[in-house]
Amino acid sequence: MSRFYKASLLATVACVLGATSAFANPAEVCKDVTLNMLLETVPDTVALQKVAPEFEALSGAKVNIEAVNYSLMHEKLVPSLTASSGAYDVLVVDSYWVGEFVTAKWIQPLDERIAKDGVDTSVYFPALMDINGKIKGTTYMLPFWQYAMGLLYRKDIVEAPEFQAAYKTEFGRDWRLPETLEEYAELAKWAGKFTGKAGAAMSGQRADPVVMEATNYVFSLGADFYNREDWVPTLNSPEGIKAVTVYADLINNAAQPGALGANFDDVANALKQDKAVFAITYLFLMPTLQDPKESLVVDKIGFARMPGEDSLLGAWGWAVPSNASNPDCSWEFIKWVESKDIALKRGIAGGQPTQTWIYENADFIKAWPAMAAVGDALAHAKGLPVMSRATQLVEVFAEVMGDVLANGTDPATAITNAEDKLAALTRGDPLLK
């Protein structure tokens, strides 16, 4: 009843205001509402917690942010989303949950709201809108964070004259950042021997760590898990097999010891403790690499886009869950949090903005100089396929990698063995029709 009342009130307000203001007043729909949301414990969440009181003052709503470990978010969200009334009013959705959430009808389409309130979605990087915005022509999310990946490298080491001289003797050319995956592999192996550190810090731990890293190798060589037109598995191609082979070669011959059990944290620590020269990983590690309380390599790390064709793009999007108790207010919050002013504030506080203009903002670039390279990285990046069972794709690819890395199975055989499983994941998927 009250929702109906509020909805009609909103409609009335919108009518009265008409063309003069496209924005409804948040106070009309949010008074005494509590907005529960689940976020990950990362700097951007802290930044959000700092600005949230502004929304509370503006709207009269209470913002209750629950922050947990990343891998626990999905576990907490799924039972809540299957319940008739959910525990959360605003969701942040990881890019490879998108298909699942849309298929299960857990999140609401936003097109009507976007049109009514005149929200401009062209401010976002198109690559982000593709994976965390519009799904099959319907907008479900506004991009929240970008998790671009690329090459982190030790500027101070590769720019040293003796390194560059030795590089020239070894490879017969002047120093340059690697342009292909093969070149990167040769460089990482050699740089490891030359410096006595690990050539590459790698994360071979099961599921997320190994998959998020190795997928960069796959995309770099132009391979993919599926043909994205007819959804036939395509990993069993010369490029796919080569990507897995190169990854295994680097784990064995260039990575830090025990890389097979390492996760993102271990990669970051290897870099921070001056134990590695290169890493293909998340750009969002930059702020912690720049923190003198944690890192020995402050100002010594550079960022470049992934060698070869593409890197893996991860992102998060804001969404309104279908079982939200007060979707109008949820939407008001999302509109507010993605408004220019607030988005910039969150970026300067260490977040990973998704709107293009922020990367040209002088204050932002001054705070995070390395972020200037993000535009280039995003232009050469693609996400995991948007499919209902993308989470499972991650598990299956992790099994392939585990088979190769731990059991020494030949990459071609391991991939062939997984083909049935890969094919089964797309079967009956409404998103792929």
């Binding site: 990950e40 470990n69 990343y70 039972p79 809540s80 620590n269 403790q273 969002f284």
Partner: protein
């Protein structure tokens, strides 16, 4: 009776070694809780460093760990209290009156053999419907699901060794089963009750999955809070260590509280022959 000297030395050697295996990693945790991350990971380890209280400050002020301690404390102790009281009564009835038949103990235990992963989703849906999610009360009930069976079992094993003659004598003397239970049986199995209290408290205090699913920001318990210190962008190992150290304190208090029971021995129940 005093054993030969070499037996004594050997005994202390073994116990000392076991203690060292426990203590060394703990001291490492303690040290980590007082350093920042650069020093935490540095090898060879720096022996002389300026200790910092930053980690403690972070978790207590910025992350409100005090609240999570309190939640853990309330949930674990209430659930344990309920489990031990209810469980002792059930153990008494099962052992002395054969309540539920010979299959009863097995049935109770069999319920514990399910991986909690499967139970947690039905649990969540049921609790959501009756409004018990995001409340400490809900978690207290949920924990009864697995600490009660263990408590019953453990107490049964102790009950079996409280001689029947004891409470039978009391009954003949005119006690009701209830007073016989409270005055005779309970004191005779105090070590068992101590062990059951610790077992149940430890299970609740450390439980993770149900706490994760059934609590929210205001009601979450310590293990869930600790796990939040692991992020995609790094693990705050100093804060984890500080939280670990702080989390041990209430448990240590509990241990000293029930220690008396543990070492009480059967002689407290005045058993002779």
């Amino acid at each position: 009776m005093q054993p030969p000297l070499y037996v004594k030395i050997l005994t202390h050697l073994v116990l000392g070694l076991a203690s060292a295996v426990i203590l060394l990693p703990l001291l490492w945790v303690l040290r980590t809780s007082f350093v920042d991350r650069v020093i935490a990971y540095k090898l060879p380890p720096e022996l002389f460093f300026t200790p910092t209280l930053d980690n403690y400050r972070t978790i207590l002020t910025e992350m409100e760990f005090g609240k999570f301690f309190l939640n853990s404390m309330v949930v674990a102790s209430t659930s344990t209290l309920l489990a031990v009281i209810i469980g002792a009564m059930a153990a008494y009835a099962i052992d002395r009156y054969r309540a539920g038949g010979s299959a009863m103990p097995m049935i109770i235990l069999a319920t514990q053999m399910m991986p909690p992963i499967v139970l947690v989703i039905p649990f969540f849906l049921i609790f959501k419907n009756i409004g018990l999610t995001d409340s400490r009360l809900g978690l207290i009930f949920a924990y009864l699901a697995f600490n009660l069976p263990y408590v019953v079992w453990l107490l049964l094993s102790f009950m079996k060794r409280v001689p029947r003659e004891l409470d039978e004598a009391a009954l003949i003397d005119g006690c009701t089963p209830l007073t016989a239970f409270v005055r005779i049986v309970v004191p005779a199995m105090l070590p068992g009750i101590g062990a059951a209290t610790i077992l149940s408290f430890v299970l609740c205090w450390n439980e993770f999955l149900f706490a994760l699913m059934l609590t929210g920001q205001q009601t979450k318990t310590l293990p869930v809070a600790v796990s939040s210190l692991v992020t995609q962008q790094g693990t705050a190992i100093g804060a984890v260590s500080a939280a670990t150290i702080l989390a041990m304190l209430p448990m240590a208090l509990l241990y000293f509280a029930v220690r008396r029971f543990l070492v009480a021995g059967l002689n407290a129940g005045a058993v002779k022959g």
